[in-house]
Amino acid sequence: MATARQPAPEAAAAGPQLGAGGAAAAAAPEPLRIDLPELTLWQRLLLNLRAARARAYVRVVATGRELSWLAFEVAMPILSAAAYVYIYEALGAPPRYTGFVLLGGAMTAYWMNVLWAMASQFYWEKQSGLLETYFLAPASRVALLLGMASGGIFMSTSRAASTLIAGSLIFGVRYEVVSWPLAILAFVLTLSALYCLGMLFSSLFLMYGREAWHMSNALQEPVYLASGFYFPVRALGFWTALGASVIPLTLGLDAMRQLMFGAPDIAFLPVGWELLGLTVLTVVYFVLALRALAAMEHLAKREGRLTLKWQ
């Protein structure tokens, strides 16, 4: 079957042929230049705060609208913790071990959130076509990640607090708080470092696609072990615990256990060192997250990875 007549060369080569009636042929159009001043620092801050608040809002709203999490994300950690509680009781471990386990069980909410709702989020949003909507807007991508993180912290805190309160009542946990301010500081620094790690992961997972996404699965359980969610991490030995400290929950849990249960004998490191370590991790992960985000965005635009469609 013969093919159709090819486009006329002049048509194929046709560059811009301006306007009906060719009015523009007489007067060559000039590039439009909209008067668009650089945003001031305040305007930029306001734009990004609005974007972060909006992105956080999704998760805050989800906490109140989908109450099914109460069954899965409060009951399940308590059940997991219960197994360890009864093992410790059977072995005659000191009562504070019940508290250690429960604290670890509560903190699983944050680790799960970082893995599944931070690290994998950009990848999922790319799959669903939402990512390009983010990248089309003038708001900074960091603002979106910070919004995602703060919403995630709210969401996870409601889960962790529910687990902690319910578990404390069920198992009769007794707290011997050494210092509330330091305990709160340890908690805040743990979350800061952890969510900065989540921000870093979100860029890496997007860059490396589905293979990296499977890392969420691969990382979940081993980190429970390596970070000592259900036992003092010192039991792993100094060097293993030190290696595991790249996950902020290792140092954070150890510091919080020392500060909330008055247990210096189980310490991996003195609290001061652990707080310093968490601060360093926060800074390092934040800087790496910014760099990874910039690299990811450039790579994604260069290789067309922001979207799924080719054409």
């Binding site: 013969a2 007067a27 159009p29 054409q311």
Partner: protein, 333 residues
Amino acid sequence: MTAQLSIDVQSVSRKYVSKKGQEFWALRDASLQVKAGELFGLLGPNGAGKTTLIKILSTLLLPTSGTARVAGFDVVREGDRVRRVINMVSGGEHSGYGILTVRESLWLFSQFHGLPSKVAMERIDELMEVVGLTEHANTRVNKLSTGMRQKMNFARGFLNDPKVLFLDEPTLGLDVETSRILRSYVKRWLKEKPGRTILLTTHYMAEADELCDRLAIIEGGRILACDTPANLKRTMQDEVVLRVEVYPAVEDASRLAQLPGVLRLVPDRGQNGQQLLTWGLKDDGAIGTVIQALQQDGVRILRLEKADPTLEDVFMRMVGRRLTDGNGQATSS
């Protein structure tokens, strides 16, 4: 007074490389100029390069070579500024978070553009009215029908009152009435907001014809022609367009394409045994030859129409196949 260019694309090419190292050129040396205030259409089949061009212009994709400016800003070097003046609606795109209501969802996207909440809410109310979503304002997105979601996506594109709006197949999959409402709003918006520009991609000929001040026909990553719909159709004035619906489908269309006076024949793939054959003829004299040949073939003529040329005919003449028929192939003398 000279017109001002809202979009200026100069020799833009875009290459993709697959994981196996295979190269695919989605755009080849494309040049295009769109004046402020225009509704400009990109017309081409799937895979022609329309979406690639829009993604480059909306800073989502880097060109492999060439330069492009939107509202005077370079899309590579001044992406931040470009993003402050544009928005985009893609047909069939994901609508956001199912757990949010329509109003919340639109508010969410307005915040990414930095709109104060009060201003955003006023616009959201207006836009929901336009697209007929007011009574669903507090319905969760995951409870909306596909059409309603698409209406919401459409409204999202106008939230930040963009200077340049990219509409990428905005009515894809929508029913006739909804499409009509959206098209009518597009026209109204441009009228009410002088200086705003819309770049529309579509493979619906009627939509392009109805809406666009000018349009470019794009195929295989190349821009084949660029003019007003009327001027493009005028290029067909030297031809007679004849459409014949037959039953059963002809077995050998190439013979019918070789008849005297036939410039081109584009058969469709046929449905339920029926087939639409579209001829480009040199003059009316060839009509009789065509009918005679069909009768000799023993097919029954169900409908015969000597038609005014449409954009589809222009497309078929340039590309050699129907816009909507990825596999259709033309035959010619």
